[in-house]
């Protein structure tokens, strides 16, 4: 369909907007890592600190689209999703949040913290036996965060922290693919696979690894330092296509 804006114009508009020296540009920071790695705690501490520094902060969480989450939740509860369906619905949830929450906030110069980003989908889906290339392409056009913090923990630590307070649910423990009845045993087996995928992705996508076995305060101060070093990076040209599509198709401004 003809759009009011051509792709070339949209790309130019995107680039001009995000590289303008006149204004503080929007920043996207992703927190990634397995369950029990403490990233949500760190995300909350980080957000408070950023607000005290004058940043306008928006948070987006995994699987939280108001449109798609009501589709996923009952199907998860009914244990009705195959790995492909699980993957596709989470990619839809992600896409919807990118278009409705992340892009508008970035365009307005806000700082977006993503509590889990597309790497969560990649690690979990590949751990379920799906092809990495297929899953990665579901998430295109890719929106690259300015910084990705990967909270690294061992499978034992993840399992110990998660099972200390609750029993992992069906999909969280990977029982759909391990064929194990015991949720704790299944969780350990599944999270070992997920962490292996995360470790590979952390290298491939140049994530900043945070040793999540350290104390909370040590991690927090380390994140502050890394953030100060990282935000001087220029806007990534790789994001041009994703922003241009948002401007053209998803309603844009």
């Amino acid at each position: 369909m003809a759009s009011a804006l051509s792709l070339r114009d949209a790309r130019r508009h995107a680039r001009a907007h995000f590289t303008s020296p006149a204004e503080r540009r929007g920043l996207l920071i992703a927190f990634e890592g397995p369950d029990g790695s403490g990233k949500t705690t760190q995300r909350k501490l980080f957000k408070k600190w950023l607000q005290s520094e004058g940043y306008d902060v928006v948070t987006t969480k995994w699987n939280s689209s108001e449109l798609i989450k009501p589709i996923i939740k009952p199907r998860k509860n009914a244990r009705a999703l195959s790995p492909e369906e699980f993957s596709l619905l989470h990619a839809a949830d992600f896409r919807h949040r990118v278009e409705q929450q992340v892009m508008p906030a970035l365009w307005q110069g806000k700082l977006v913290i993503a509590d889990r980003f597309l790497f969560t989908g990649l690690a979990r889906d590949v751990a379920r036996g799906l092809d990495l290339d297929w899953v990665l392409k579901l998430y295109t056009p890719l929106l690259w965060p300015d910084l990705v913090f990967y909270f690294s923990v061992s499978p034992d630590t993840s399992g110990r922290r998660v099972t200390a307070t609750r029993t992992p649910n069906y999909y969280e423990s990977g029982r759909d693919v391990t064929n194990l009845d015991d949720p704790v045993e299944s969780y350990h087996r599944f999270i070992t696979r997920v962490i292996k995928e995360y470790e590979s992705l952390a290298v491939i996508f140049n994530m900043i690894t945070v040793d999540a076995e350290q104390s909370m305060s040590d991690q927090h101060y380390r994140i502050r330092e890394l953030f100060k070093e990282g935000i001087t990076r220029p806007w990534s040209d790789w994001n041009e296509e994703a922003v241009a599509e948002w401007l053209m198709v998803a309603g844009g401004e």
Binding site: M1, S3, A4, S65, E66, L67, I68, P70, I71, P74, S82, P83, E84, E85, L88, L89, A91, A92, R95, H96, E99, Q100, R128, G129, L130, D131, W134, K137, L138, T140, G174, V177, T178, N179, R189, F190, R193, E245, M248, V249, A250, G251, G252
Partner: protein, 183 residues
């Protein structure tokens, strides 16, 4: 862990039975065409007709809160693929595995036509449906003229996108999808 090999080989799954893709506009027109195809098959060989939204995903989308936000063409296509994965798992593959003839109305072609009409790049569309086996035969049917056949996938997505203030006109998008289907 039980290793699953991702079912991303388009050629493998139809080896046993016959898959007929019925592509086009409307809902009743597609079902009618699917039934006509199956009527030509001996009763014992009929594997049934798989229709859009067997999973209920789009039905759930309709009842979402008004302020839940607009779904783009790409989001709608991801949801279509999730619905198709459900249909393949519960309706299409079981029939094919029993060496039956099954009609999928619609199948991949209708969604691809919608994607192209909405400006989505073809490589992304091809990758999206890589898990779906290639049909043995494809039949493209237009909606019956004058029929009030507004409950199909194409009608659904046209209405959804046209509802957006900057979205395309419903009729224009529908015509564009039909032009892509005829290609």
């Amino acid at each position: 862990m039980t290793e699953r090999s991702a079912s991303l080989s388009p050629k493998s799954a139809t080896a046993a039975g016959t898959l007929i893709a019925i592509e086009g506009l409307g809902d009743q027109a597609l079902v009618k065409a699917a039934k006509a195809e199956l009527d030509d098959v001996p009763r014992a060989m009929r594997g049934g007709c798989s229709v859009w939204d067997a999973s209920g995903i789009f039905g759930d989308l309709v009842i979402a809160a008004d302020d839940a936000g607009h779904a783009s063409a790409r989001t709608l296509l991801l949801l279509y693929a999730a619905d198709l994965a459900f249909r393949l798992r519960w309706e299409i593959r079981p029939a094919l595995n029993k060496h039956r003839v099954v009609a999928a109305a619609p199948y991949v072609g209708t969604a691809m036509a919608f994607g192209r009409a909405a400006g989505i790049d073809v490589e992304w569309l091809k990758n999206l449906f890589l898990f779906a086996p290639r049909p043995n035969r494809i039949k493209t049917v237009p909606a019956a003229r004058g029929a009030r056949d507004r409950s199909g996938f194409v009608e659904f997505v046209c209405e959804r996108l046209a509802a957006h203030p900057d979205g395309p006109k419903r009729r224009e998008l529908r015509d564009h999808i039909w032009a892509e289907l005829k290609r």
